[in-house]
Amino acid sequence: MIKLVNVNKSFGNLHVLKDVNLEVAEGEKLVIIGPSGSGKSTTVRCMNFLEEPTSGEVYINGTQLTHKNKTEIIRNSTAMVFQQFNLYPHKTVLQNLTLAPIKLQKVPKAEAEELAYKYLDIVGLREKAGVYPSTLSGGQQQRVAIARALCSRAKIILFDEPTSALDPETVQEVLDVMIKLSQENITMVVVTHEMGFARQVADRVIFMDDGRILEEGSPEHFFENPTHDRTKAFLSKILK
């Protein structure tokens, strides 16, 4: 469960998030859409305190995140998948997956590797365990990044435009993995413009504009009768 209460975020004079209130239920699949610069990334980055709000509160499973407790809470509750994958280039695929479990969750090495292989199977990359990330295609790297997120056994996974940096032909392989994931009892918050994915997976979609949540509803709502003109304009652009 994630809860944002009156969250504001400013970068210097730039007021980026304006009184954002949002609750994500356990197991919910939430998709965030909106134009570039509207604050989507900042919103999800506030959920794991990669950005600390200027004011307002963030709760993870009922505990308020603070500068002090964030590392501890984040370690056990959330994982993140980035637009640029951010795999560790000096570690093999397997080591990328086992580093945090071994060092942070104190899982024995053999057990961590077993877990890693299990998730590599799920993303279909078992045979890549021993190679370095730079030898993989973008789509493969992102699937490894998803497996790495799963290895933390966090119940909340945050995705910030996971397919935006990919060649068009590898987008679907990543979406397929995410669709597979959505059948698990994992809370997923996904910033994406892939409306097909949203339609198939999302329990709820929110549309952000200029640092605010302008509109929210089911994927169908957004396809059939969005309320605001801004939403309509945005959707007509990305759906054309």
């Binding site: 794991n48 990669l50 590392t71 501890e72 984040i74 370690r75 056990n76 959330t78 994982a79 993140m80 980035f82 640029q84 951010n86 795999l87 560790y88 280039p89 000096h90 580093l99 945090a100 060092k103 942070l104 190679v131 370095y132 730079s134 030898t135 993989l136 295609s137 790495r148 933390s152 945050l158």
Partner: protein, 240 residues
């Protein structure tokens, strides 16, 4: 001068003094090894401090670097040797050599470490933070290992400079290699040529393996990158 070098008796008298040269060699080695340990420790600590989010910590690191880079090592050594005893701090010449050469080189190493850390993409820090690594863990497990390739060449330069700079303690009668060479040459024989030749050769013995090792290690890292590129080509061929 050439004539002097050719005279066998000068070499014979030099050879007769070899135990003194050996013990001076050991003194130089001792200063170099401990100064190197100190310089590496200071280099990493102040290098990390100079990338801190805390302004005060950054300023402290800056002051350290600027102070030691912009004053002559000789003055630092003289200050500690001649001035500090008036404040009740009297250190042995070897200790002074270790402290002064170590802190002086540490400033340069800290700059190399800072540049190395600065070259790592922000995404690497964010991935580590999102997994719940503490700041120290992030640096030790993820960031610093990636900087080795970048900072190795300047670091080795600094190591070699350090070994050569230990000769500064000659100026305070430090009993090191250079001091022994001086003492022998000015001890009535005037065998400057042979004495300094031997002395230079012994410094060379210390530095050459260091630069050779560094070049080999660099080549190996480069080869690993080439292999990675080759693997990548194979993967692409496989896909085609």
């Amino acid at each position: 001068m050439i004539q002097q070098i050719m005279e066998p008796w000068r070499w014979q008298s030099l050879l007769a003094e070899w135990p003194k040269f050996a013990s001076a060699f050991v003194t130089t080695l001792e200063i170099a090894v401990f100064a190197l340990a100190l310089a590496l420790a200071l280099g990493v600590v102040f290098g990390l401090m100079s990338t801190s989010h805390n302004r005060l910590i950054r300023i402290i690191a800056r002051v350290y670097v600027e102070f030691f880079q912009n004053t002559p090592l000789a003055i630092q050594v003289f200050f500690v040797f001649y001035a500090l005893p008036y404040a009740g701090v009297a250190l042995s010449q070897v200790t002074i050599g270790i402290l002064c050469v170590g802190t002086y080189t540490g400033a340069y190493m800290s700059e190399a470490v800072r540049a190395g850390i600065g070259s790592i993409p922000k995404g690497q820090f964010e991935a580590a933070q999102s997994q719940g690594f503490t700041y120290i863990q992030t640096m030790m497990l993820i960031i610093l290992p990636q900087t080795i390739k970048i900072i190795l060449p300047p670091m080795v330069n600094q190591m070699v400079n350090l070994v050569k700079n230990t000769s500064i303690v000659t100026m305070i009668a430090g009993g090191d290699l250079m001091y022994r060479a001086n003492a022998f040459a000015t001890n009535g024989t005037m065998s400057y040529g042979p004495s300094y030749l031997l002395c230079g050769f012994l410094y060379f013995l210390l530095c050459f393996p260091l630069t050779t090792w560094a070049r080999r290690y660099e080549d190996r890292l480069k080869k690993r990158d080439i292999q990675t590129a080759e693997q990548l080509e194979k993967v692409e061929e496989g896909l085609a």
